[in-house]
Point group: C2
Chain length 485, copies 2
């Protein structure tokens, strides 16, 4: 009797390479069969038999390997495989794991798997899931499958599913589950322990029991840790905690996640406006929220619409990226017209063409630094919109100093390279002014986004670069036209 699993990441990588090796072998045999079929009309029966056998052996081995794996591990392997291999593996997975795996994979990969299944398979895969899990999958499932599964639920489950589905994806209500252990306050700990023993299994993550009155109003929580060390004769009302962090179903999931982090929660009750207990949220959902939130911020800042399946067909990637590329093209076109307006100056002093990208570039870099700071502070709730003014003054200080130092360096270089002190001076002033613009827009863009209820991260990088490009060209070429021509 020894501990079996060790170093989960290594083990996972091992599993992946084993599956990959088996897949490779499988493809090889397939190709062989294919080639031989092509090369002769009359198949040599015996040889084909051997090949078929080999073929089946491979798949059986693969199937056995997959059967040993945790659904989350299979999900990881599916995500790491190109589309054709992925669908082959998906075929071989035990069908009772299908639902769990669909829950674990990323949205983009889930779509590719669901596309490969027919209605009956889908119904079979998801009908055993809990209401909250079903609700997670529902948006990706064909409407008809959802109806069919709904029909097979009992009344309570259907009500739960409808309740979860009625909330936005980013609300606590969409993440709550209904696996509650509820007790009354006027029983003894001994009774609670006996009551618990009647369960076949306690719900996942059960770290506390919810104490309610006759009307399901939450009165407190009894932590299991407390229950275990309490006197069996003590009444629940004596040992339960009454200061409880609770959530409403319409609370933001991100706020809930921050509370889980702050107060080190494992589970927390969800109550309605009257304090009635309706569900609970668990830390594993919150881990996903944190992961997804930061990923979405990262993708949004880079101008990607959503998470992308690494191995998605080219067309899917194009769809995911075209919107921000188009916006970027428009802003680049504006910047180009700004330069176009100064063509006369550039013709007179062609050095301007060479120097102008430096002004624009440093503004973009510095602006991205500022905007990243602000987006992060807004996301963490560390900054309120009202503080923008104070932060702007600070960023202004940073940008003026940076402008004078780095603008000075580049100014001297320009002076030396082009033998013009005036050109160097224009360069320094233009860089400083563009950094000031970058600081201003870096604070202003996300603050306004937040104020008007938009995600501050959304395309922030593209927007700030647009400002610092057009602005930088205008400032530099404008100053040059005024003072050097």
């Amino acid at each position: 009797m020894t501990v079996v699993e060790r170093k989960p990441t290594d083990r996972l990588q091992d599993s992946l390479s084993q599956v990959q090796k088996l897949l490779e072998r499988h493809r090889l045999v397939e190709e062989l069969v294919h080639r031989q079929e092509e090369s002769r009309q009359e198949p040599a029966d015996k040889q084909q038999l051997v090949e078929n056998l080999l073929h089946r052996q491979n798949l059986t081995e693969l199937q056995q390997k997959l059967a040993q794996l945790h659904p989350a591990d299979i999900a990881y392997i599916l995500e790491s495989l190109p589309l054709d291999d992925r669908l082959l593996v998906w075929e071989l997975v035990r069908s009772e794991d299908d639902g769990e795996i669909l829950l674990e994979v990323s949205d983009a990969v889930r779509e590719s798997l669901i596309e490969a299944m027919d209605s009956d398979e889908l119904v079979a895969a998801v009908e055993d899931l809990d209401a909250d899990e079903l609700a997670d999958l529902a948006p990706d499932l064909p409407r008809q499958v959802v109806y069919e599964v709904m029909g097979s639920l009992d009344e309570e489950e259907r009500a739960q599913l409808q309740s979860v589905l009625s909330y936005q994806e980013d609300q606590v209500g969409a993440l709550m589950d209904f696996e509650l252990v509820k007790i009354r306050a006027d029983v003894s700990c001994e009774v609670v322990l006996r009551y618990l023993r009647r369960f076949d299994e306690l719900p996942d993550h059960t770290d506390k029991i919810f104490v309610i009155d006759d009307d399901d109003i939450l009165k407190g929580v009894l932590s299991i840790r407390k229950l275990l060390v309490s006197d069996p004769d003590a009444e629940v009302s004596e040992v339960m905690a009454t200061e409880v962090v609770t959530f409403h179903p319409d609370d933001h999931a991100e706020d809930a996640a921050l509370a889980f982090e702050r107060y080190d929660l494992i589970t927390a009750p969800v109550v309605d406006g009257n304090g009635k207990l309706i569900g609970r949220v668990t830390v594993d959902e919150m881990l996903d929220v944190i992961r997804e939130e930061s990923e979405t911020d990262m993708l949004n800042m880079a101008g990607l619409k959503e998470e992308e399946d690494l191995f998605a067909p080219v067309i899917d990637s194009l769809k995911n990226r075209w919107a921000w590329l188009a916006i970027n093209l428009c802003t680049a076109f504006v910047a180009s017209r700004v330069i176009g307006a100064f063509e006369h100056s550039i013709q007179q002093l062609v050095a301007l063409a060479a120097l102008m990208p430096i002004v624009a570039g440093i503004g973009g870099n510095s602006g991205n630094q500022t905007i990243t700071m602000i987006v992060r502070a807004l996301a963490m709730g560390q900054m309120q919109v009202g503080q923008a003014w104070r932060l702007w003054r600070k960023e202004l200080g940073v940008s003026v100093i940076n402008g004078l130092i780095w603008g000075g360096v580049i100014g001297v270089m320009a002076w030396v390279l082009y033998h013009s002190f005036a050109l160097g001076l224009v360069m320094t002033v233009a860089m400083t002014l563009n950094l000031v613009l970058a600081a201003t827009m870096g604070v202003l863009i996300p603050t306004l986004m937040q104020k008007f209820g938009r995600d501050p991260a959304l395309g922030s990088s593209v927007l700030i670069t647009a400002c610092t490009d057009s602005g930088g060209f205008f400032i530099f070429l404008g100053l040059a036209s005024l003072f050097l021509m």
Copy 2:
């Protein structure tokens, strides 16, 4: 007996505004006193008395407000306050909470708080912390304080502290704690329950008990959920789980966090090479790891060295940002020299100056999309370095199609604007080639970083922009010089 706390985020915002209001009032009174002192030599005793009283009343009210708050909430408030207010609040916090609060605040804010304390205060603040908590703070504490605290520890605690300190910040060993509940396999569940009842309090997050043999070798784990529903007479060895996810102290914290997410863990044992149980990791540490990891990626991509205290003095911000700005300046300078090499062409056809930023800009945007995808896939372990080739081919497809479509659009615009079909054609070809370059570097840069053990996110945005700027200018101006001059 009703549930007290609700909607933690709103409540937290309320607390913050209350504290801010009290601080404002305090500053107002201070200013009043100051002004009056200035305006007359002989203080009017009575008036001053009133003011002093008011002054003290304010601070008492503030202190009372703070005393009601959870250390994590105070940490949040400290992070949201400018430096002078922050230090005033820090003074007023109950000293027994100091250690907890220092643990909760961000690194940057922690520094500012520690700077304001003398050695004795620091020793008093941290001496009651656990070994793993002490280890978290140790790098930020003055060396002398660490020695003093170490001297006051008993031998076991000192060994634990030294062990935690011997690991890198991103290793499991640095995050583990030692609050283990250990049992033998050959006792009954009844005995375990009686044993647990002897504790005053079970360690935080206890969701499982560790089953060991005489040599402390981990034999399995007994989940509390299982214990509660098991027959009291059953032996631990019958009900414990032997398939356990364990970690080694030198495992990467990020890998551990992924495993926690994948297998929905609350706690997990840490074992040495011989399978001996040495500590445990808990999900609350993993939440922090995930949060920090994604934040670091985001900051690194934008070219910020580390997390910044929003209200840090300007000089700290400059230090945090100057390195990547300097690198950016160098790359911008290179791009500028590339343009400089084609000054003759630009002089002949000044439209080139106006069009070239479009080529560079679209390349930068598209390259950032690609690199963000790849950085994310590498961080999640979904992509292996060996798959770079396959992904590059896909990105190539995306970039060629984007180049032909968007390059075509801009090419037609250039044709119409400048009445030159050849110029439009050069524009289209240059954009396509620069997008191909962006796709190539977008895959290559993070893959190489990963291969050589560096963080793929590190300054990736600055590096890819450098490639697409210089490359874009070179491609466009080069083609124009060849075919249009």
